[in-house]
Amino acid sequence: MTPISLACRIDRGAFSLDVDLALPGRGVTALFGHSGSGKTTLLRVLAGLERVPGARVALGDEVWQDDARKVFVPTHERGIGYVFQEASLFPHLSVRANLEFGRKRLKPAERRFDLLAVAELLGIDRLLDASTATLSGGERQRAAIARTLLASPRLLLMDEPLAALDMRRKLEILPYLERLQDELALPVVYVSHAADEVARLADYLVVLEEGRVLASGPLAATLARLDLAANFQDDAGVMIETHLQAHDADGLSHLAFSGGVLLVGRRGVAIDTRVRCRIHARDVSLALERPRGSSITNILPARVDAVGPGGTPGQVLVRLLVGDTALLARITERSRRELAIAPGSAVWAQVKAVALLA
């Protein structure tokens, strides 16, 4: 798949945006930032919903906007799919007619997906003949995602599709979003301000702040960057790709990664399955000697790579290397002083919690 290029400058006084990005044309790219960082505007420019003078937008060698050459491809000719924050189902149509809206505008040969198969994938196959008004918030958003997929987009744009939902609905939709990736191989650009959501879904991460790109790179490496960690505040932490190595009889599973093994509560996951783990900086503490008599299961030998500001007064973030895998730890400035932690120190990292993302 060809990469996406997106260059855009806006200066509206209070709001300014100055971005020149090349995004991979595969997997899930997350545009992460707080509100006002310009992430939604970028997505709208990419979709052609907003026409910013001077912006340049292209998918591979297909130019969507280039004002110097007077090129502007309208949204409906870009072949994109867009999932809005609120489901925005058409109230005058049934669920089925909503799903068919984009699909029936395609030539039969262009229809990549079967209506029933997509409805099943998103768990709304039994709601097809319902009126949209009877759907729950989670069902509405799933129907909106199905409707978008059925229009066979070449690129899927998602603007905080979970933000309007409560935690339970989020957890209900997330697995479907993961399945989309596993089963459809559709490039996605995903806007979010939730670090954990990004860690779970994305492969590539762009961090935006006040209209500027702070970082743009592969997810794991970018999340582990000390200079960005403050942007994630309490959610600062790394994502580690592991594979399930073994199940123990006492209810623990072994997750192997390039720096060693993590033990986690047993999951119904088959041996050799790839599992994404998230370790928050707040859940990692440091010791100079291997702690004895600790109830913590995951204690890993590590080397300090760098120390940086923690975003909150009195705290620092420490970047560790376990083998060649990076971890972040949030400790107090006092502990850092008393343990004399500096780049190069050998330490033991005690990991209090490992979140399994998939």
Binding site: P74, T75, H76, E77, F84, R105
Partner: protein, 227 residues
């Protein structure tokens, strides 16, 4: 009871109202769309012009339209150049005058309905590969249906109820420009109260039923045409 001239007046009234309503839907829809979507400063000026018939006495509108349609008026020049003569005191002239007179009753409900739809459904349609024209028919028209029904009913009913403009432009010529409202006036002038009663009562019942139907179908239209 009613005589032939009464039936002729009723028939002419219905013909006039139907034609005017259709014309208003045809021209009022793009106008209302523009008013609902534009960010131009001209919006306020055009909006005020459209609303003028709500506040002006019909005789004022009739007077200026009469001047415009006269041999020395701009419309008169145009129709003269096209070899159509003048429009004053003709059915066509009456139709044109009625379109102006009933304009706000169609444009304002449509404009409100279009504004209520908002940007989002149009954006959703565009991301689902519907072009602007397609979106208009498949999303805007169904979502704005209450506006279309309200506009059509109010435009129709208001045209039937007009009197001042008809008198100024139409001149009350039997079979050409004599509608029910002017016919009633004639009956009263001639002391034919029984016939006046039949027509007036008919108008009363008709108008009441129309409004009752409208408010039953779309209670939100009770707030009137003014925003």
């Amino acid at each position: 009871m009613l005589d032939a001239s009464d039936f002729a007046a009723i028939w002419l009234t219905l013909k006039l109202a139907t034609l005017v309503t259709l014309l208003l839907l045809l021209f009022g829809t793009p106008l209302a769309w523009w008013l609902a979507r534009t960010r131009s400063r001209a919006k306020r000026v055009v909006g005020a012009l459209v609303a003028l018939p709500l506040v002006l006495p019909p005789t004022v509108i009739g007077f200026y339209l009469l001047l415009a349609m006269g041999p020395n008026g701009p419309l008169g020049h145009l129709t003269g150049a096209l070899g159509l003569g003048t429009l004053a005191f003709t059915f066509t002239g009456l139709v044109i005058a009625s379109v102006f007179y009933s304009l706000p009753f169609v444009v304002q409900p449509l404009q409100n309905a279009f504004e209520a739809i908002g940007e989002r459904p149009l954006e959703v349609a565009a991301t689902l590969r519907a072009g602007p024209w397609d979106t208009f028919w498949s999303v805007v028209v169904p979502l704005a249906r209450p506006g279309f029904v309200t506009g059509a009913i109010l435009g129709f009913a208001h045209t039937i109820g007009e009197f001042g403009v008809v008198l100024m432009i139409g001149g009350n010529i039997p079979d050409k420009t004599r509608v029910v409202s002017t016919q009633i006036y004639d009956h009263v002038e001639a002391m034919e109260y029984a016939q006046a009663h039949w027509l007036a009562g008919g108008m009363l019942v008709f108008s009441f039923v129309v409004l009752l139907t409208l408010y039953t179908l779309y209670p939100q239209s009770m707030r009137g045409t003014q925003r």
